[in-house]
Symmetry: C2
DNA sequence: GGGGGTCGTCGAAGCGCTTCGACGAACGAT
DNA sequence: ATCGTTCGTCGAAGCGCTTCGACGACCCCC
């Protein structure tokens, strides 16, 4: 592996000049620059990342903390991750992958040992134990999600409360008055997962504002969970004409269940999903849905981190507005 | 951030002694070690990763290259990734996430700049353009998959040829003679994806050995693709009594399709899937399947990398034997 | 035509760690 | 007692890069 000294010698300049060619931090004459660049190309020189980090205190690496639980939506996580990696590369950064199960100590390890310049943390809970630790780090951090107390930490996410309101507005506009929310599994609520609570709160509030008759029900995974959930809904809110489904895994069995009960969509019951676009499109009937824009959120997280890294100011909480797209799962109730 | 010098001062020893306490590369008296460790704990010292990498030429970081295509099985990839990260951590390594779309240059970038000690590359194709580049790197590499010419590179994977044979043996044992393979989408074959070809070859060979009447058919994603695939199969191999499905995405629509055509599983038609265990279990009927042990393969990849890193020898191709587990989707044909 | 700037380049220091050689002390064997 | 070892520790060199201050050369303006 050639070093910067080899390049300098080959180009007949000093190592510092090579460095300045690379960084552009000082003016270098066109001829010199050309010679240096030729030498770099010829020798196949790549600066040593460790040496660079040591000298400049910059690693050009971001940490990305992903959950690896199974009850959480794998494709969504994957979309976030690829969005983050792709966006990071456009800013000349690489991504170090951490799993949530290392908890606080994992964050501290990579931060204290200066392996990364900044962190992006997914799957945030309401009273996330990692938050106090994150506040103490010298590296900037961006959360994907919204903890109970976001003070001192920058957060980005979809505006789930607005998303909930959006689904209800749409259904109300179609004329629905009795609407049930099929939520995530109870374990998600139990963990205090941020997006679940925000969606629930938005749903309840919008329901009151619109004067609707609604109920909410978590939904265990699997056929059995869905069956039970639907039964409870029918018992508690008889004559329900629309379902808002904020549970990607339940979606499929739920549609199956409705079909085998002879309830047609949208003739007998309307459904609005909250899920990634491709999931909504991959169902037997294309579902009217509020998109979960993993890609945008991931990209925004990276942009925000970059802003923080070069000291620019940024708002501390940034919630993306939801967009509902109409497909084929909503109609006016038969009445 | 305290440095090794701060620790040395606090413990009343020289920096090199602290280093030897950390690395254990020279004997240190119990008292000294205790004092040093106390100082480390008190100051919250973490060695600077860059400095360490520079001095020792070891980064304790692995690169993991994942595909980010959409036609490829997201949950499987995610399982690989988490298995790799988890296993890497047990060896005190972290994982840098690269996407396949950076191609050869991404590999060269992280390798030449000494960001990683070794690489693990997923989603290998038969004539993968990255292979020659990988051979040239000074860092050891482990492929998950099997290229056409694996010379000079270590590979680990499930033995897909054996897996195919296993499915046929099982179905033959049940008395099936007419069996069709529902394969991955044509684009997967077109790309020369290693596992698809190996499964196909194993299927064809075992079919001949067992004297079965079989056919194979790729399957486009989506309901339409499945419908077409089934129609072709019925046309080409009338009276087919069993299906081997090597296409995770097609699985669900395929079952739907069979059901709505009034073909019961396993009474009218048997199905063996090749997919991760949880996918097989998540279907309306628990499917008899050959497990794709992402977790084991990921773990094995890391173990292999570690072996290479400390100079131990390792076989150049390691294929895990498949295991078929019986569930409820196979029975003897009505005859 | 001399003073003040800017431009382009160099040299040296230093980032925080590992590692090698050296060296005194302690110890067992003769 | 003496010599050779092993044990435990230290000092210094160096890993490859960035960055700061310095310094000619050159240009512009009064």
């Amino acid at each position: 592996m050639p070093t910067i000294n080899d390049v300098a010698r080959a180009a007949g300049v000093s190592p510092s000049t090579v460095s300045y060619v690379l960084s552009g931090r000082r003016p270098i004459s066109a001829q010199t620059r050309a010679r240096v660049q030729a030498a770099i190309a010829e020798l196949g020189f790549h600066p040593h990342a460790g040496a660079r980090a040591l000298a400049s205190s910059k690693t050009n690496v971001l940490a990305l903390v992903v959950p690896l639980r199974v009850d959480v939506n794998v494709p969504v996580i994957m979309q976030f991750a690829t969005a983050v990696v792709t966006a990071a590369r456009t800013h000349n950064h690489d991504v170090l992958l951490l799993t949530k199960d290392e908890g606080t100590s994992g964050l501290e390890r990579v931060a204290h040992s200066t392996m990364v310049d900044a962190l992006i943390v997914m799957d945030v809970e309401k009273d996330d134990v990692r938050i106090p630790a994150l506040r103490r780090l010298k590296q900037p951090t961006v959360l994907i999600g919204l903890p109970g107390d976001p003070a001192g930490i920058v957060c980005v996410d979809l505006d789930f409360a607005a998303a909930a309101a959006e689904t209800l507005r749409h259904l109300a506009w179609h004329g629905h008055r009795k609407i049930a929310l099929v939520g995530p599994s109870p374990s998600v609520y139990r963990r205090g997962t941020s997006y679940a609570e925000r969606f629930l709160a938005g749903f309840t509030e919008a329901s009151a504002e619109l004067g609707l008759e609604t109920m909410t029900h978590p939904c265990e995974p699997g056929q059995a969970g869905v069956r039970e959930c639907l039964a409870d809904i029918d018992a508690e809110l008889p004559g329900v004409t629309a379902l808002v489904v904020h549970n990607e895994e339940a979606l499929r069995p739920l549609l199956d269940q409705l079909r085998s009960a002879g309830r047609r969509i949208p003739e007998d019951i309307s459904v609005v999903a909250v899920c990634p676009r491709d999931v909504a499109l991959g169902m037997p009937i294309p579902l009217t849905s509020v998109d979960i824009p993993s890609h945008d959120v991931g990209g925004l997280a990276v942009e925000t981190v970059m802003k923080l890294l070069d000291g620019r100011h940024t708002e501390s909480v940034r919630l993306l507005p939801p967009t509902l797209v109409e497909r084929e799962s909503c109609a006016s109730p038969a009445s």
